[in-house]
Subunit: 203 residues, 2 copies
C-alpha cells in the first residue's frame, strides 16, 4: 500500500493475535515477534517501588520492545502493554476458571481502567510513547449469567486480563465502554498512526 | 449458548455483513434478511417535512423491520439505520470514486456524527428503540494521502456512507473517534443487549 514508506521496517513486539489483527486491518506491513520477558517479576518490583500502573505498563512495553530490538537494529519496534486497574487493585490474567470467576465477581458493578501503553524504539532510543486509559463499567450481573458465561467461554477466560474478550462474549458483561476500541484490545491505534505519520512512515 | 432464551427468535432486518458480524461475535442466535425499502425517497420526503436525522434514521429502521416482520409474526425483529451528518449536510453512500473523493474533501478537518438508530418490533408493535450518536473527527489529510487511500480502497469506498470502513483502512482518516465502536459499525450493541436482557431474551 502506498500509504506506508518502504523503510523503516515495522516490528510489533507482541504475540497477541488481536494486536496483530489491528495493524493488519489498518493495512500496515510489519512483522510480529513474541518478546519473552519476565512480566510478573518486573511488575512486582515496580509496584513495590511505588510505580503507577501507567509507569509499569510503559516499563513492560519498553522491556518487550528492547528484547525484540536486539535483532532489528534498523527497524522501528513497537512495544505494548496493558494493565487492568480497579480501585487500588491491579489484575493479571486469571490462571484458571476459579480465578476468572473471582476476578469477575470483584469487577462486577464497578468501573475499571485498561491502562494501555504503546511505545516506539528506533536505534535503541525511545522515540515516542502514549498511554491510553479506556474505562469500562461492568453491569451487576447475576450468578446465573456468570455461570453461563464461564461455561460458554471455557478455557478462553484465562487468555485475557479481566477474563473477557470485548470482541466476543465479553460484551455481555458491560453496561458502558468509553475509549478507543483498539486501545481496549491492547493497542492505542489512532495515536500510533498519528506518530507514524509525524515520523514519515505513513502518508 | 445458555445466555439466550429459546424464544423469541431474533431476526436482523439488514443485509450488512458488519451488523451480522457484531451479533455473531456476541454469540447470538438469529437470522438476517435484507429488507428492500426505498430509502432515498423516504429520506427525501422526511427531510422535506423537517424531520431530524434521528427521526429519519428511526423511520428507516422501522420501515426495514416492518418489511421483514411480515413473514415473522412471532419473532423479535431488529431494524437499524445510520445517517452521516456533518453540519447541516446529510451524506449518502457515494455512487462512485469521484463522489467518494468529494465526500472525503467535505469531511476532512471536521467532526461528523453517525446518527445510528436501532429498533425492535414484536407482534407488529415497536417495543424499544435507541439512537446513538458517535462523533468522528477526520484529520486534515493532504491530497497525496487521499489519492493513495482511494486507490487502495478501490470500489469499496462506494459500499459505506462517508467512504470509509473504520475497521479497515478508514482508520487512517481520523484524528479522534468517540462513541461505541459497534454503533459506528452500524448497530448500537450495548443498548440492544441491555434491552434484550430486560425483555427476558438474554440472561
Amino acid at each position: 500500500m502506498r500509504l506506508q514508506a518502504e523503510s523503516p521496517h515495522l516490528v510489533l513486539a507482541s504475540a497477541s493475535a488481536s494486536r496483530r489483527a489491528l495493524l493488519e486491518h489498518a493495512g500496515l506491513r510489519f512483522s510480529a515477534h513474541a518478546a519473552a520477558v519476565d512480566e510478573a517479576t518486573a511488575k512486582q518490583a515496580a509496584r513495590a517501588s511505588g510505580a503507577s500502573a501507567a509507569g509499569v505498563a510503559l516499563l513492560l512495553a519498553e522491556m518487550k520492545a528492547r528484547r525484540i530490538a536486539r535483532g532489528e537494529s534498523d527497524a522501528l519496534v513497537i512495544g505494548c502493554d496493558q494493565m487492568l486497574v480497579c480501585g487500588e487493585q491491579w489484575f493479571d490474567k486469571p490462571s484458571d476458571q476459579a480465578e476468572a470467576r473471582a476476578h469477575l465477581c470483584a469487577l462486577r458493578g464497578r468501573t475499571h481502567e485498561l491502562v494501555t501503553a504503546v511505545l516506539c524504539l528506533r536505534g535503541g532510543q525511545r522515540i515516542w510513547h502514549h498511554v491510553a486509559r479506556p474505562r469500562l463499567t461492568m453491569r451487576d450481573f447475576g450468578d446465573a449469567f456468570l455461570d453461563a458465561y464461564l461455561e460458554a467461554e471455557g478455557e478462553a477466560v484465562t487468555t485475557t486480563v479481566g477474563a473477557y474478550r470485548l470482541e466476543g462474549l465479553g460484551v455481555h458483561l458491560f453496561d458502558a465502554v468509553e475509549g478507543e476500541y483498539a486501545a481496549i484490545l491492547g493497542l492505542p491505534l489512532l495515536p500510533l498512526l498519528g506518530f507514524l505519520r509525524q515520523h514519515g512512515v505513513l502518508l
